[in-house]
Amino acid sequence: MDKVKVLEIKQSVFASNDREADAMRHALKEKGVFLLNLMSSPGSGKTTTLRRTIEALKDELRIGVMEADIDSDVDAKAIAETGAKAIQLHTGGMCHLDAGMTRQGLEGLGLEDVDLAILENVGNLVCPAEFDTGAVKNAMILSVPEGHDKPLKYPLMFTVCDVVLVNKIDVMPYFDFDMEKCREYVLMRNPNAKIIPICARTGEGIDQWADWLRAEVAAWKNKDTM
């Protein structure tokens, strides 16, 4: 048998992605671009929430959106109708985006005339949470029909998110959704999470969400250090 030798590596599988994500945050900082990574289950209302968000902020911020899906361009078309810059990313079957794919997306979007770039990640509560995309902040949408127990079932997603938008609050009377329990479970996983109840269909709560986003973008542009 041929002689072999063993090279020790001792490196997390995610280490190379984490390095690339950090490098991207530095590059975004230099350019003054804020990148938001928006995650959720399929059907939670990401695209509708984005349309409302763009309406609320389009007079103050130049917004660019990357819509990531396994296939189709229906979401990018819906966003383009708002007048915001939008591109569709196809993950080719992959269940999440990593820093490398996000960088390619940002290159495709073009950052010269963008203050706020939003990545609409693949609809999935598991895999996107594992991979740092290089975003400045992570947000996720939990919709009322999904149930208030999701933070218990998908702990990592709620641990990595800075903001949890609880969407579709207009249908609360028809579901056994307990907002107080939901808050308790989210804060159990992430004591620093901000929880904002919204209804993307009617626009309720969007002001509070837009205020948060506006303040974060301003802080990122003004902050000297990361």
Binding site: V4, I9, K10, M94, C95, V126, C127, E130
Partner: protein
């Protein structure tokens, strides 16, 4: 759930280390996988066989998985218990204030490569100033 993405990252990292070390062929990669890392070994092996065959350096390389058992520490009574059997609630005192201390790893431990055929470069002669 996202085994293919994990496999791509392993291959990228191993190729990088391989290039730094002048390695052209890798025989095996050892991965430490936590019991509750959410990565399933069967799926991982399937993805590995497919993706490794597309890499010049890793074609035919084996993926050896070492499972790290999951253990949780109870912050209330200090007991350490097996996570898979008891979840987040301490079996000794019933407290929910617990945290995982190991078992979430996805760590590339080492790679096995063929020993070079040619002899090591000779030692510089004794007394040579550097």
């Amino acid at each position: 759930m996202h085994e293919l993405g994990i496999v791509f990252h392993i291959i990228r990292s191993v190729e990088e280390v391989g290039r730094q070390n002048g390695v052209s062929q890798v025989n095996a990669v050892t991965l430490e996988l936590g019991e509750v890392s959410g990565v399933l070994e069967d799926y991982l092996q399937d993805c590995w066989n497919w993706a490794a065959s597309k890499s010049d350096m890793l074609r035919g390389a084996k993926l050896q998985v070492v499972v790290i058992p999951a253990k949780t520490l109870c912050e209330n009574c200090g007991c350490v218990y097996p996570t898979v059997a008891h979840g987040r609630t301490c079996p000794a005192c019933g407290s929910g204030k617990t945290h995982l201390i190991q078992g979430n790893e996805t760590m590339i431990r080492d790679i096995t490569v063929p020993e070079e055929e040619e002899p090591e470069p000779p030692e510089p002669p004794a007394g040579t100033a550097l």
